[in-house]
Symmetry: C2
Subunit: 404 residues, 2 copies
């Protein structure tokens, strides 16, 4: 575990901070209404810099998945010099990032619902180069029919299944070439292949993670090679997950890497071994609203509405309950987790078997809880309250988008 005290350095410019502080109404971690989502800017910046450097080293493009952040302000932090390539999980995200930030290079990495074609086409008509994902000839034909007569059309990524995790075609599936042909026959452009090593979330051994990364790479490259051998262009070879992107040793043949949760990290990623606890950049600020000393309970106002119902660490070696409890400055408290959650009540207790003493945290005490899953916890909130340099001041309030 690394040291928690860091220099009070933030790369936000003074001018930005001044404007944002005005917007945040001068709140601090002691005066915000709770529960509230807190984003540690220094930790996020460090996480962004780490993966960017890794990808630069491989000479591949980083196409961040913005389903985790759902925030134009976070996107701007990733791309300070102007919009870059991004990944989204809903068309609403694509529309939002195009509208709010002028993003035009967008990959929509969820299999295409045919009903969504009109919205995809409307987005293309505004100048967005949208890449959609599919794995059947029927989806390509349906999209082609909807797009007939349109000058700007989505291009197509064929989804490849590298580890049996969810959708896509296995790299050697005979249908792969048929789908590519259906794409071209439908008057659409084949942009490339896309895979996601979702099964890497179940790993925790560095060797196994490196193997998962190599399998992900090899699967995507194999699919691309088959398409090229059949005469198709396949310029983009897209892989990605936060665990594999951090454990890849070779990305030969890959052109881009997608990852999302890396920007914030969370307890699940810690359990996998991708990050340290003090890399986790999001937390939920909460207040003690009751105590039950006879039961060893401390009640807080962060229930599942604030934390989400995600119990992603329940299958890991260390079960973190609904979250790991820290003091208001983000320093973990010995063996203290959110053990149970009702809608607006969290019940804090020591881990089972802990020999630590339950701390005296009277009603009114402020705490921060690190989440199991940053994507799920983030989705419960409308804004990030940004802190920097280990200070209590909220230097910015960054809205989150939601919906479909």
């Amino acid at each position: 575990m690394r040291d928690f005290d860091r220099p009070a350095v933030s790369s936000m410019t003074n001018m930005t901070i001044e404007k944002e502080v005005a917007d945040s109404g001068g709140k601090t971690l002691m005066t915000l209404s709770t529960p509230a989502l807190v984003l540690d800017l220094d930790r996020m910046d460090r996480n962004l810099a780490r993966l960017t450097a890794l990808m630069d080293g491989f000479g591949v493009v980083l196409r961040p998945h913005l389903k985790t952040a759902k925030s134009i302000d976070v996107a701007r932090r990733i791309h300070p010099e102007g919009p870059g390539p991004i990944t989204v999980s809903t068309l609403a995200e694509a529309e939002y990032f195009a509208r709010e930030g002028g993003y035009t290079d967008i990959t929509y990495a969820v299999g295409l619902d045919p009903y969504m074609a009109p919205r995809a086409l409307a987005l293309c008509a505004t100048g967005v180069e949208l890449k959609v994902t599919l794995d059947t000839a029927a989806q390509a034909e349906s999209l082609g029919q909807a797009a007939a007569g349109h000058t700007s059309k989505p291009s197509v990524m064929i989804e490849i299944d590298c580890d049996g995790h969810r959708g896509g075609l296995v790299p050697d599936d005979p249908k792969l070439v048929d789908v590519a042909r259906a794409v071209v026959d439908a008057g659409l452009t084949l942009a490339g292949v896309l895979t996601h090593a979702g099964a890497s979330y179940d790993l925790h051994d560095p060797m196994a993670l490196a193997d998962a990364a190599e399998n992900e790479r090899a699967s995507a490259v194999r699919a691309a090679e088959r398409l090229r051998a059949a005469g198709f262009d396949c310029p983009v070879v897209s892989v990605g997950s936060t665990p594999t992107s951090h454990f890849a040793r070779d990305l030969t043949g890959v052109t881009e890497v997608r990852a999302g949760v890396f920007m914030f990290f969370d307890l699940v990623m810690h359990g996998i071994g991708v990050c340290q606890i003090d890399d986790i950049a999001v937390s939920v600020l909460t207040t003690v609203i009751g105590t039950k000393p006879d039961k060893g309970w401390i009640l807080v106002d962060a229930g599942w509405m604030a934390m989400s119902r995600d119990r992603g660490t329940s299958k890991q070696a260390v079960d973190q309950g609904y979250g790991l409890v820290c003091d208001v400055h983000g320093k973990p408290l010995d063996d203290l987790i959110v053990d149970q959650a009702n809608q607006e009540h969290g019940i804090i207790a020591l881990r089972p078997g802990s020999k630590a003493a339950l701390p005296d945290l009277p009603v009114g005490t402020r705490l921060r809880v690190l989440p199991n899953h940053a994507c799920a916890t983030g989705a419960q909130h409308d804004a990030y309250h940004v802190v920097a340099g280990n200070a209590d001041d909220v230097v910015a309030v960054w809205p989150r988008m939601r919906g479909w």
Copy 2:
């Protein structure tokens, strides 16, 4: 299991329907963007009528808990003749229902965070008779200090612990009288006692549920009697949970019942035995986006972002995964559940051990998924798409509020 086909009757007035249909843009279950939250008005009305009749029979007030619905339109459906008594789980809900619907009789049934006093006082200053919940003398003293000099103050419900589920004082706790004294000494009005049989969620036997209801009643009444014997007024004796409110046989001494999820019901309530499957009034409309016949999988666009991560049925006799799959009209499909969920992907499969055949549901098929937990699934959405009379038309779009 009762029959699913019902007469196309809705008690919405024609004028209301005409206005709402205009707002909904003439959408149907076949043209809405998915995933989308659907509310079956007939089922909700039936659920409302059932519990209202039960409470009328006992001569007690129903104080619905609006943390489930978070919608002024649902509240108006409960109180068509004007605002009535309500329960909320956040001050933001109290502010919303006061502002949007003129609600003034509001019980905030979560232990008071001392930082919230200024907001509570501001709400009282607008004419809201707010009752707050606490279980320590320190909370009473803190609220009293904050309220000093204010003419309109919250009154106080003392939280009683009837089953060890979360906060509150057990009815015979010597501190009960001390807390009441602290309330009065702080210049506040003691409104009464409040308890919640949260442990009833772990039951499924009608006898045990009736016992839990009786224990809830007896605990609250015992606490009220102790306070009265000590010389305090204790006009309100408030109990409530959806399971106990439906299984109570006697409510002697109780003045009001709080319940929330009863208006929609869900699979957890079905597992407890409080409702039939065809009482469940909320569902998530989804579209098939892929199939994996070799794995027995059907992929839909309702992942955990649309369903929530709630796995409340996992500990019940029938594990419903992330939800029970129905056709677009709401009729359950044999043994089909959302077995796994990623952020925007749901994986539909047959229940383990099922002998049913996986139905042929090609890409583009529309389905509806009944949720484990209506409160949690609702929280993932910004609006209800209201249907009535087994028709596909969306007759209204009702916004939901969120946040704290």
